[in-house]
């Protein structure tokens, strides 16, 4: 492994271990989104506790609208880890319910799930380079009793001297991949031979083009067949594909080193307003 990837790995392992070893394991959960960052996070959890099994539970917040390839992948992973699947019974529809969909099916669902299982510490695979407000995040991010983020008064932090404490009024979100970039994730996946959902690689599929990008075809509009891949995975109506010939990890890495765009362009969620991610995070989103 190159020294810089090793530094990123070291940093991630340290925070994972420090949080888990200094808190009650039953109050810790790892958010598992099925995506590439979650695959890396899961791999790091295996390494962190080797040769012992992972001592904490994982949880997938389902919306019912993920790609079928994601569900197949999740079912395979569920055999290796203690995975909770939680879905908000409200069951909104992204095509017809608009912006409320993300709030109810993701943010509210997340809060319901934390409450239901009494989790006080939640790990996530978010990275600082994903989005502007995330560039301000801590490794250990304190949330108030309502799970809200206060971006203007965060706990000062000096990694690797983590403050691992919380009170009965606060909970913690932990981001071990804070300093990783999209390319780092792929370089690590390559080096560690980590399995990811196959639609991250170029494949032929029916897609339709609308003003915000290339989307998966529906029954009403079968669109046209294109060779595409996904840079991020989420709910299929909100996740754009990119035209791509990258069929292998090396192809993906080369493509990313040359691409003119960030991965954000494929996510509708960030795009509704300039500061939408910040607002979502303040309201309790990851």
């Amino acid at each position: 492994m190159t020294p810089y990837l090793q530094q990123l790995e070291k940093e991630a392992l340290e925070v994972i271990r420090e949080i888990c070893f200094s808190n009650r394991l039953s109050e810790i959960v790892v958010f598992y989104s099925i995506g590439k960052d979650s695959s890396v996070l899961l791999h790091l959890f295996k390494k962190a506790f080797f040769p012992f099994p992972i001592p904490v539970r994982f949880m997938h917040i389902d919306t019912g609208w993920k790609f079928k390839e994601m569900y197949a992948f999740r079912d395979k992973i569920a055999k290796q880890i203690d995975l909770i699947v939680y879905k908000n019974p409200a069951c909104l529809n992204p095509y017809t319910d608009g912006p409320r969909y993300t709030d109810v099916m993701k943010t509210q669902a997340l809060k319901q799930a934390l409450e239901k299982y009494n989790f006080k510490i939640a790990f996530g695979g978010s990275r600082r380079d994903e989005e502007k407000s995330r560039s301000k995040e801590r490794f250990v991010s304190v949330r108030d009793a309502e799970n809200k983020w206060n971006p203007y008064n965060q706990n000062p932090e000096i990694p690797p001297l983590y403050n691992t404490f919380h009170t009965d009024k606060t909970s913690l979100r932990i981001f071990p991949l804070s300093n990783w970039t999209e390319v780092d994730i792929w370089e690590y996946i390559k080096h560690e031979k980590i399995e990811v959902v196959p639609i991250y690689f170029a494949h032929e599929r029916h897609v339709v083009r609308n003003q915000s990008g290339l989307y998966i075809a529906t029954e009403n509009d079968t669109g046209e067949i294109k060779k595409v891949r996904f840079r991020t995975l989420g709910c299929y109506p909100l996740t754009g594909a990119v035209l791509s010939e990258a069929e292998t990890i090396d192809d993906v890495i080369n493509e990313l080193k040359q691409t003119a765009y960030t991965e954000r362009i494929t996510r509708v969620i960030d795009y509704d307003t300039d500061f939408s991610m910040e607002k979502k995070k303040i309201n309790g989103y990851f």
């Binding site: 070291k10 392992l13 271990r17 080797f50 989005e131 000062p156 001297l161 403050n163 954000r264």
Partner: protein
Amino acid sequence: MKRIFKVICCGNVDDGKSTLLGRLLFETGSIKQDQLEEALASSIKTEETAQPDFAMFLDGLAMERTKKITVDVAHRYFTYNQIRFHVLDCPGHEEYTKNMATAAACADSALIVVDATRPIRAQTIRHIEICAMFRLKQVCICLTKYDLLADKSILKQKEEEIRNLLKDKDFSYTIFPISAVTGYNIPKVLSVLENFAEQSADTAEKNQAIIFHIQAMKQLDGKCYIYGKNLMNRPIDFAEGETFTIYPTHQELTVSAESASLPLGCIQPTESIDVNTGDCVANCPLLITNKFSHQTIFFEEPGNHLLLKHGTKVVRVVQLTDTQIQTDAPLFINNIEDIKENGFGILIDEITKKTIGCCVFTRNS
């Protein structure tokens, strides 16, 4: 790609930090098309310039952009000549000094941005003090807004003033004029940072010290696994047969052959040993003490119940004066003058659990 090099960018508010960093990101090709379009859309463009406001790449929070101030540290990454730079853009406002201090504590070097057109500000002096407190070794001082300077002879005088501020500090530094807007001397900033990174990599290579603070010890099939974090800023490979001292017991630990196949941050000793979370494994002398000469930056007014965390150990503060901290149990430290990485701790309020200060352990104050 080689190792990661951490640089803080600091200086007084409005002196031009965010613009400089934005420019560095831009010049190194780290800004993608969609970020550029977004910055162009929200930049207030002046007459003829179709150039984006480079600062727009940095500030991330809504209030920061509307009020044009930086509240919290922004973390950005760029690669230049195979070196991965992690830049920490610090706030320049007095009330956010705490965020600047935490960034300084984990940085390898500093870019200090000084507006060449204005008198030197209190916050610039404060930032220099904080860089010195955390023993940053290399500092690059950029006298920015060179393009606005009608009378270039002012530069000499500015430079002299800054040299005076740095006189009694243990920095190796360079100082030169730049303009983040026209691009003047921007390549020089990059080559200075590259030099810093090379020097720092050389020093790290030569430094064989390992200070491994224990997070947990687990047993399986009669074998013992010790998990921890090495504070020395590099991953460790424990070599078979290497010996270490365990603090505070002074027992000896010999690394087993199996350790080579364990993940980073995990060692297996040849024999079962008695260690606890908070103990330390090191190959260099550490001080075992519960009395510390210190210099502390408080982020808020300290309450009566404080914890001090250093490495992986948390102890209670029993006495705190301007010059000394006394705790209810010993920590395994070095003075910041000797080994920077093992020379500071954080203060946590026992009730609210907030991090309320950062202290460096000094030889004598």
